[in-house]
């Protein structure tokens, strides 16, 4: 049983450095010096059989020679000695290992085996492992890494899969206002991954915001379980790099091909309330705004600018980000009109024109937030502001910066302010002042708008219903029968279901598809035709892909005699024109859908592809033979998929308008399609062996629908 408590990494009472060295420049020397110089208050034990003292601290041959208890051991020895030392740590009852040493999974071959052995040792002795192949761990109490410097302390927790990226970020932070509550380098993630640390940090009072740089997420299901709660406690921003092609390569279905490799990450992040950064710049911009600015009550902002052009750019950015302009009350407009020059624009965005002085900025900001004494208020709808400045002779940027700071600190505890001071030499001092005083100030207004948007996103997430409280519909289905069908398919050595099998699977889950049964003799075909009525008959063989090409499909089977003859003809054709030794299961007799009688028919594609990390992805969009070309599709995770999710999925496509009805058409049966999506999500969650599923087309009618062509692929 492995312990879930990892607090000892953050507050260890004692640390051993295995491989501590007196030689300057060696990692073992840097790590020990970093621990000492970072002001660590606990006990430190250098371990090195070739030294009596390291950095004037008594040194031990092995960790077993230390009398005291040890919480954390940091490894800086060559990889081939790590497992032996880890075994000794286990015997010593060390709680956590930080394995900085490289030479594990990342080198392949023997490194892979070495890492597997290390994992086993960790499990055997109930020790948690950070790394191997990492930079180390830097907490508020100690710096257990070989970074050049200990970064500033602050409210940001930084987790990085790349050690080098982490050192770069730490160095960058030296020039910024913010600091870190911890810096964690994950390395190979042999044991502990980002999710483990996020779970801990969500409860950590010293951490206000969590930033992550990740190349992969190993356990998607754990991510989906832990993150939604963690993000409710504090903002989590992730920069995910390295879009894998592996998923896309293995896709043969429409859904798989349309989904691409990265979409699941986006959906999982959204579902869990994680903010996704696209660039390193974003990562810190979002981190800074979350750290220092409050979440606004509403999407309702003011733009105050002394320059027309940047004002328009900011307005465009607001449009793009779907940010809303606060509408000012009559008294506010009246006050602005009275005090601002005639050429100023008093409507949002407010242009206080080029000669605006610090006083004009002050008056305007206070007015839109209703802060001027004696001001008749009316409704104050402004929940935040973007303040833009370009330097003119009258502007005095540093004074303006001070005014903004004073107003913000004194009056706007719950309303965010972001700024954009455009320029270089003349604005640098003001900009720096704002930054050091925790008011984000960007080079250009679009970045500022982007940051406001992240605050709004967070607000939306916080007011949404938590995942665990969502109502997930459970339909009554015949799960056992589907299990049997899949077992039969596997027994036959197939992965793709034959169409009479898919028809039955859908039937078991209450999704309507044309009735279809397998006939194995001409007589059986006659009986089935009389039961089903007008039919299509198709050869059933996993080895015949293109049925029509070999004469394996006949339409309009209206009588029993037709069915009898069709059976013989189809099987003969298959044996004559089909591949040699193709296994023929028989002939499928399928109900022929006469949709020409329907007043309105829309072709839809509904599909599922399984992401290796986050499980089933549902897809909805325009179907038919042009599905891949139209690319009118949207995706959602099937994890905790609600009716609301189904509605959103449909509404985000272009075909939604057609389903809704254009030019006086009646509305298609959207409720029925929502029902299909919900039932499908239940099916794909019930059966992790389904790797791909396509319904293309599903014919949507004014009343009802028919899932005409279904393809289900299961794992071997």
């Amino acid at each position: 049983m492995t312990t879930n408590d990892i607090s000892f990494f953050f507050n260890p009472k004692s640390i051993a450095v295995i491989g501590a060295s007196n030689t300057k420049g060696k990692v073992g020397n840097t790590v020990l010096n970093n621990i000492i110089n970072s002001g660590y208050k606990g006990k430190v034990f250098p371990i090195n059989p070739r030294a009596d003292k390291v950095c004037d601290i008594p040194c031990y041959n092995t960790i077993l020679d230390v009398k005291d208890e040890i919480d954390v051991a940091i490894f800086v020895i060559p990889s081939k000695f790590v497992n032996k030392a880890a075994e000794e740590c286990g015997k010593k009852k060390v709680k956590g290992l930080i394995v900085i040493s490289a030479g594990f999974k990342e080198i392949g071959g023997e490194g892979v085996e070495r890492e597997e052995e290390l994992i086993k040792i960790g499990k055997k002795y109930n020790m948690r492992i950070l790394g191997p192949n990492c930079l180390g761990f830097i907490g508020l109490n100690y710096n257990g890494s070989f970074a050049a410097e200990t970064p500033k302390k602050g409210g940001i927790a930084m987790i990085s899969q790349s050690g080098a990226m982490l050192t770069g970020m730490m160095d960058y932070s030296m020039t910024q206002a913010f600091g870190f509550s911890c810096n964690i380098s994950l390395g190979n993630k042999a044991d502990l991954g980002a999710v483990d640390f996020i779970k801990f940090l969500a409860e950590d009072d010293d951490t206000k915001v969590i930033l992550c740089y990740l190349e992969s997420i190993n356990d998607g299901q754990k991510f989906l379980e832990i993150l939604p709660n963690a993000t409710r406690k504090k903002p989590i921003v992730i920069l995910k790099s390295g879009i894998s092609e592996a998923g896309a390569r293995a896709a043969s279905s429409h859904t798989g091909a349309l989904a691409g490799a990265d979409i699941a990450y986006g959906l999982a992040f959204e579902k869990c309330g994680v903010i996704r950064a696209k660039t390193i710049g974003d990562l810190f911009d979002y981190g800074e705004v979350y750290l220092y600015q409050p979440i606004p009550k509403n999407n309702s902002f003011a733009i105050i600018t002394n320059a027309g052009g940047p004002g328009i750019v900011a307005t465009d950015a607001f449009e793009r980000e779907k940010l809303k302009f606060a509408s000012f009350s009559e008294p506010i407009l009246h006050a602005l009109r009275e005090k601002l020059p005639l050429e100023a624009s008093i409507f949002n965005p407010i242009d206080i024109v080029g000669d605006a002085t610090p006083e004009r900025y002050e008056f305007t900001i206070k007015t839109v937030f209703g802060l001027n004494s004696g001001q008749e208020l009316g409704d104050i709808t402004t929940e935040g502001a973007l303040i833009i400045l370009t330097p003119q002779a009258q502007t005095k940027p540093t004074d303006v910066a001070q005014i903004i700071y004073n107003i913000s600190i004194k009056h706007l505890e719950k309303k965010p302010i972001v700024c954009s001071f455009i320029g270089g030499k003349n604005i640098i001092e003001g900009k720096e002042f704002l930054k050091q005083n925790h008011i984000p100030c960007y080079d250009f207004p679009d970045q500022a708008a982007h940051s406001l948007k992240t605050l709004i996103k967070r607000r939306e997430y916080l007011i949404s219903t938590p995942l665990e409280e969502l109502e997930i519909l459970k339909f009554k289905v015949k799960k056992e029968r589907v299990k049997d069908i899949f077992a039969q398919v596997r027994e036959d050595g197939r992965t793709v279901l034959l169409s009479y099998e898919t028809s039955e699977v859908f039937d078991c889950y209450g999704i309507k598809s044309p009735k279809s049964r397998l006939a194995q003799t001409p007589r059986q075909a006659m009986d089935l035709q009389s039961e089903i009525g007008k039919s299509v008959m198709k050869i059933v063989s996993p080895h015949i892909i293109h049925k029509t090409d070999i004469g394996g499909l006949l339409l309009n089977i209206e009588t029993e005699q037709d069915a009898f003859e069709a059976y013989i003809q189809i099987v003969n054709n298959a044996k004559k024109f089909g591949p040699q030794n193709a296994k023929i299961y028989g002939v499928e007799v399928q109900e022929m859908i006469d949709f020409k009688a329907e007043p309105k028919v829309n072709e839809i594609i509904i599909g599922m592809s399984r992401d290796p990390q986050f499980g089933p992805l549902l897809m909805f969009g325009t179907g038919g033979i042009y599905a891949n070309f139209m690319q009118d599709v949207t995706f959602a995770l099937a994890y905790k998929f609600t009716k609301e999710d189904a509605k959103k999925l449909i509404e985000a496509t272009k075909i939604y308008n057609l389903l809704h009805g254009v030019r006086g058409e009646s509305q298609s049966d959207i409720e029925a399609i929502i029902n299909v999506l919900l039932r499908l999500s239940q099916l794909v969650n019930d059966f992790p062996e389904i790797v791909e599923l396509d319904i293309n087309p599903l014919l949507a009618f004014i009343k009802g629908y028919s899932a005409v062509d279904i393809k289900i692929t299961i794992k071997r």
Binding site: R249, S252, V496, H543, I584
Partner: protein, 353 residues
């Protein structure tokens, strides 16, 4: 009294050796005292080797006996120009030789499995056909093995029945072997009205087994004169190949085909890395790369991880395929358990034991 299972068929290649292997194992499993007997063996070549390779295989694997080979298969007649090779006037000599051996091995057993001639027509001219041999050994009933997966099986059955009636010999039962999956239900549909009605029981219906008659990767390698590129996947040379797929399309289309088959040999050009990688994600037994073009390192690494041998063919895809058409794989030693499983499951042993 000794009970005989004399396996005969109207058409050649009915799988009588395969059935014999199954029968031997079943009787062994049931603890019965039994013997295996093949009156006339078919040597591989006319004058070189007189031993029947099928008998040799059976003796080496499932029927290990102290009796000399000549007792188990007392006579041997090659397939080519046999009318000239066998003197019809020596019919009695042949029959006596067969009877003599049969009597020796029938002494201490309760059951004898007799593997008949390639067809019941064979050696009629010489008077040493299955019915004549049976008469000579005092056997009254033969097991008729039928392999047609079409309604012709009924005509053939009646033809045989009428012929046996004429020769005053009976059919112990009919055993359908190597039947296409789609025809099994049809046989059941036809049985009441056309077979069991005549008091002849259906002993079993055995589906054509792709698996048992599949070649090994090594046999394929030898057949095409190929070279193994990744020696770390040497153990994969024992993999069975059930289907051959030629990859000349895009990877997405290839997946449609790959997902429908198991244990495939995927044949494609050495330069088609996309296809090779897609195939390695599926159930393939080997990659055969044609045109003598070496693949990317990535392909070799992926194949090594999955222990899938890559065979480099010296010829183009067309020639490689033509070479493979000549491949005639038989049952391998490590497959005899599977034969028993199949035979046990599909034959109604209550009718026989």
């Amino acid at each position: 009294m000794v009970k005989t299972f004399y396996l005969c068929s109207l058409n050649e290649l009915a799988g009588k050796s395969f059935l014999s292997i199954g029968f031997i194992q079943k009787l062994k499993k049931e603890g019965k005292k039994f013997a295996y007997f093949k009156p006339i063996g078919v040597p591989k070549a006319a004058f070189t080797n007189k031993a029947d390779p099928d008998v040799g295989f059976i003796l080496n694997t499932v029927y290990k006996t102290d009796y000399p080979y000549d007792y188990i298969s007392p006579t041997s007649i090659p397939d080519a120009y046999y009318i000239d090779l066998v003197d019809a006037s020596k019919k009695e000599e042949y029959l006596a030789k067969i009877k003599n051996a049969y009597d020796k091995i029938a002494k201490d057993v309760d059951y004898i499995i007799i593997e008949g001639n390639p067809s019941i027509r064979k050696f009629v001219r010489l008077g040493i056909d299955d019915v004549s041999i049976a008469e000579n050994l005092g056997i009254k009933e033969l097991i008729y093995v039928s392999t047609e997966s079409s309604d012709r099986c009924i005509d053939n059955f009646f033809f045989t029945k009428n012929y046996f009636d004429f020769r005053k010999i009976s059919i112990l039962g009919i055993l359908f072997n190597k039947i296409d999956f789609d025809y099994i239900t049809r046989i059941r549909e036809l049985s009441d009205g056309h077979i069991t009605k005549y008091n002849i029981p259906i002993l079993g219906i055995i589906e054509k087994s792709v698996e048992l008659f599949s070649p090994r990767v090594n046999e394929i390698k030898e057949q095409i004169g190929g070279e193994l590129l990744n020696e770390s996947a040497t153990s994969g040379l024992d993999n069975l190949v059930e289907k051959f797929l030629i990859g000349a399309m895009n990877a997405q289309s290839a997946l449609k085909y790959l997902r429908q088959v198991k244990r495939a040999a995927f044949i494609t050009g050495g330069d088609r890395t996309d296809l090779a990688m897609a195939a390695l994600d599926q159930d393939v037994s080997t990659l055969i790369l044609t045109g003598f073009i070496h693949p990317d390192m990535g392909v070799i690494t992926a194949a090594n991880e999955k222990n899938i041998p890559i065979i480099l063919s010296p010829s183009d895809t067309y020639t490689t395929m033509r070479n493979l058409e000549r491949l005639r794989p038989g049952i391998q030693e490590d497959e005899i358990d599977k034969v028993l499983t199949l035979i046990e499951k599909e034959i109604d042993w209550n009718l026989l034991l």
